[in-house]
């Protein structure tokens, strides 16, 4: 469906998108994840034709899009803050893409009704867009983008402006909807929860380059680099030298999964793999703080040597602040980073 070949976009001397190659298959939902300034929104603008490429090619259904103007690309784009047309009502917004393509009034009305049903706003066609809540605006924007039946739908921070509860509900709805319609989706977001819940495949970007690409599970389980690990919120990263099934670190000896490459590496220990026990066993740590996280408690530990550690403990086992504990590591929660 969509193929990007070595796409580069420069703003002055800086490359916002740096030789990025990416493919999105038919009916696939791909989510580009990255911090702000990583070039992910630029990527969408390139595909839409709003931003010319400085090098590389964009292909849709195998056809090179160079020289194809925005309005002939047949893609949909949902803007971050929706950009609904203020002077039109809901139906006028949703019908816009059909109208400029010359659809008859009857067709437009039927399609608008169908889409408003689909996004859960039946009968809202006559409402003014200024009177809509954030969630409703988001639904109208989605209906508007879907109405002309784009071959590729792009979403720029689709749920960025909504509050947390609504976001979590909508992301599930979106995934179900796209699955039912068979829509091909390229979304960008800085929110890992959103990306993992929405996507078939996640692409992590950093400074205009792709840092990692894989299914949500793959990326979550095996972050490819320290950057990806830290971006996903894992901060237990340390330098290590792997010898056999054990790595040497400032935290002492840490077991690694079987088959790990030997030699110097960066090591990630997921908080779930940090086990607390008797101070006599393992790395002596002082508990610096505790943060309640719902189903577990995140415990901040100050080891005798090396950087701060985070451990995830069941609620009833969590030690109090100032307690001294002994830390051991579980091999299956240890990841050797590239």
């Amino acid at each position: 469906m969509l193929v990007l070949e070595d796409v580069t976009v420069r703003f002055g001397a800086r490359a916002a998108v740096d030789a990025v190659s990416l493919e999105v298959a038919d009916h696939e939902i791909v989510c580009v994840l990255g911090p702000s300034g990583s070039g992910k929104s630029t990527l969408l603008r390139v595909v839409a034709g709003l931003k010319p490429v400085d090098a590389g090619r964009v292909l849709l259904d195998g056809a090179d899009q160079a020289g194809v103007p925005v309005h002939r690309r047949g893609v949909g784009l949902m803007f971050q803050d929706h950009q609904l047309f203020p002077q039109r009502d809901v139906a006028g917004n949703v019908a816009f893409g059909l109208r400029v393509r010359g659809a008859s009034r009857k067709e437009q009305a039927a399609r608008v009704a169908e889409l408003l049903d689909l996004v859960g706003l039946p009968g809202a066609g006559g409402r003014a867009v200024a009177a809509l809540s954030g969630g409703e605006q988001q639904r109208v924007a989605l209906a508007r983008a879907l109405a002309p039946g784009p071959r590729l739908l792009m979403l720029d921070e689709p749920l960025g402006q909504l509050d947390r509860g609504l976001r979590e509900r909508l992301v599930v709805e979106l995934r179900q909807l796209f699955g039912r319609l068979g829509t091909t989706v390229l979304a960008v977001t800085h929110d890992q929860g959103e990306a993992f819940a929405l996507a078939d495949r996640v692409v992590v970007m950093r400074d205009g380059r792709i840092a990692q690409s894989g299914t949500p599970l793959q990326v979550w389980r095996r972050p490819a680099s320290e950057f990806v690990a830290r971006f996903l919120g894992f901060d237990n990263v340390v330098a290590a030298t792997v010898t056999g099934a054990v790595a040497d670190t400032v935290w002492g000896k840490v077991p690694v999964p079987a088959g790990t490459a030997q030699g110097a590496a960066r090591l990630l220990v997921r908080p779930a793999g940090v086990r607390l026990g008797d101070p006599a066993d393992g790395l002596r740590c002082t508990v610096e703080g505790r943060t309640f996280r719902g189903h577990h408690v995140a415990v901040r530990l100050r080891p005798e040597s090396g950087p701060v550690l985070e451990a995830a403990c069941p609620l009833r086992d969590a030690p109090g602040e100032g307690a001294v504990v002994g830390v051991t590591f579980a091999a299956d929660e240890v990841v050797v980073l590239g």
Binding site: P52, A66, G76, F79, V100
Partner: protein, 559 residues
């Protein structure tokens, strides 16, 4: 890779297309200004500063500027503009505050009333103050006080004329400043005055400066008012250019003075552009409706009362007297307007025909100004570069360059094929449109720039071609501003005097020209007819403005 890569070529094509679009939009405005502004002005300057065989004579500049009468004119022009500006700020700033921050019954009416003077033709303003302050005027009758031919009449008329500029520019911004900023300062420990001085004043200062510069510009180039109220003793540059050109036939002096005015106006506009640019940045603005409230306490009610009294005495009284005087002999003066001979050989046609002429000319001028100004604004919206900013400033120049010079320049340049327009009726609307274009651009540009570029992108992604995007997104959003711009252009064209006085043909006078001609003749009947014709002109302009106020969104435009 040896061959040019295809995407490089496409990119170049896209850039070329964007450039071509901008060039296309700018072509007509640039051509218009070249032919109807640059050419006539250059011709006049050339006539004045070159000898018969075409050699430039820079020495003439020094000769003319060294003359004591010219030095006097320069000095008067500058100090009266400074004094007018200071006086206008003093009188109008309380008005700006009241209209921005207070909510009271009749506020919309008051806002409309204070704006009327700005679109009134200078000739009407001059006549109205003559009726108030002049020989046989209201003050003369009541207390024997006459202020015409004193500088006070000129200054007061300037305040009258520019009150709206300050109220609109400063008050418009003031109404949009978030009062919570001041509240934040108060909570942090600032006194009421301290909060105003540290938070509001700095935010307001650029707008005050911009308004002051506009007032300075308008009063520096003042013509009609000085011509009618200044008497022989007081002449601004513009009035002197007219005298040198039309009465003394000294083109040399006129050319030098045109250049001086050109340089001064250029400098003022450059400073203005800088202030405006500073103003556009970094202010958090809110909906003006959310910031006004009822006056509280005797102090605030007194302020409101003072402003209302000022408006009554300064703005409404002169106009009231004008109307009253025009009905002095019942409808006699109005009836006299229908006869050719009543003017004692002043006119070739009944003065009343000037109404029809004026309306026709102004309608044509409006169409031209909206077309040229609209295209220019559309071109200026697309990305700001150095070139575009220069073009922006260029569009403002007709506001300040001597209209008299332009008018006379029209006569001596547009008299040969292919552009032999001297006998064409189009000549007058063309000159008037020149003054209307800056208003159109000023009104349209902020609105066009405020259209979120991503709204256009959203339409394009949904399949709308560039032309369709303009029609579907831009036009509905700026339609209102377009109507306002047209109204401004119409009012300005209707009142244009400096250029029209040269090129309007004796058998086709416009209203301002007819008024001036009547005032120039002795006799009660002529004076009364001038009052009557001025009243008609005022009513036409006021009606145009009130229609405008109805469609005007509060935030469209800078003026």
């Amino acid at each position: 890779m040896v061959l040019a890569r295809p995407e490089v070529a496409t990119r170049r094509r896209a850039a070329l297309r964007a450039g071509a679009l901008r060039a296309g939009l700018m072509a007509l405005p640039v051509a218009f200004f070249a032919v109807f502004f640059a050419l006539p002005v250059a011709a006049i300057v050339g006539r004045g500063l070159r000898t018969e065989d075409g050699a430039w004579q820079a020495g003439r500049l020094v000769d003319v500027l060294g003359r004591p009468d010219i030095a006097g004119v320069l000095w008067f022009t500058t100090w009266q503009a400074l004094a007018s500006t200071a006086l206008t700020l003093l009188v109008a700033l309380p008005g700006a505050y009241v209209l921005a921050r207070f909510d009271f019954p009749g506020k919309a009416l008051l806002r409309a009333v204070v704006t009327v003077p700005f679109v009134l033709p200078t000739v009407v303003v001059g006549t109205a103050f003559l009726a108030l302050l002049g020989r046989g005027g209201l003050l003369d009758e009541m207390w024997g006080v006459r202020l015409d031919t004193t500088v006070w009449a000129v200054l007061l008329a300037h305040v009258f004329f520019n009150y709206a500029v300050v109220v609109r520019t400063v008050g418009g911004l003031w109404a949009q400043l978030d009062p919570r900023q001041e509240e934040a300062a108060r909570v942090l420990g600032a006194s009421r005055l301290g909060a105003w001085r540290r938070v509001t004043l700095p935010a307001l200062a650029p707008a005050v400066a911009a308004a002051a510069l506009m007032v300075f510009l308008f009063t520096y180039t003042s013509f009609g008012i000085v011509q009618i109220l200044g008497g022989p003793a007081y002449r601004t540059l513009e009035a002197e250019i007219y005298r040198q050109t039309a009465q003394l036939l000294d083109l040399r002096a006129a050319a030098v003075l045109t250049l001086v005015q050109f340089a001064a106006v250029g400098a003022i506009l450059a400073v203005h552009a800088r202030t405006v640019r500073r103003r556009e940045t970094a202010l958090k603005l809110v909906d003006p409706r959310s910031t006004a409230r009822r006056p509280r306490g005797p102090g605030q009610w007194a302020l409101l009362g003072g402003v209302l009294l000022t408006v009554l005495l300064l703005l409404l009284l002169p106009l009231g007297v004008l109307v009253e005087r025009s009905f002095d002999g019942g409808l006699g003066y109005y009836r006299a307007l229908q006869h050719v001979d009543a003017g004692g050989g002043t006119f070739l046609v009944p003065p009343v025909e000037a109404i029809g002429n004026s309306l026709e000319y102004a309608a044509a001028a409006t169409a031209i100004a909206v077309l040229v100004g609209g295209l220019a604004a559309a071109a200026l919206t697309r990305r700001a570069g150095r070139l575009v900013r220069g073009f922006d400033a260029l569009l403002m120049l007709p506001l300040g360059v001597s209209a008299v010079t332009v008018g006379f320049g029209f006569l001596i340049t547009l008299d040969e094929p292919p552009l032999d327009l001297r006998s064409s009726w189009l000549l007058v609307p063309l000159a008037q449109a020149l003054v209307g274009v800056p208003f159109v651009v000023r009104t349209m540009l902020p609105v066009l720039r405020a259209v979120d570029a991503r709204l256009r992108e959203a339409a394009a992604v949904l399949g709308a071609s560039p032309w369709r995007v303009w029609r579907e997104v831009d036009l509905p959003l700026v339609g209102r501003a377009l109507a306002v711009a047209a109204g401004f252009a119409f009012a300005v064209s209707l009142g244009e005097f400096g250029a029209t006085v040269f090129i309007a043909r004796p058998d086709n006078p416009t209203l301002p020209v007819a008024v001036a001609r009547l005032l120039g003749r002795p006799g009660e009947l002529n004076y009364g007819q001038a009052m009557a014709l001025s009243t008609i002109l005022m009513v036409v302009c006021a009606v145009a403005l009130l229609l405008l106020e109805r469609i005007r969104a509060d935030r469209s435009g800078e003026l």
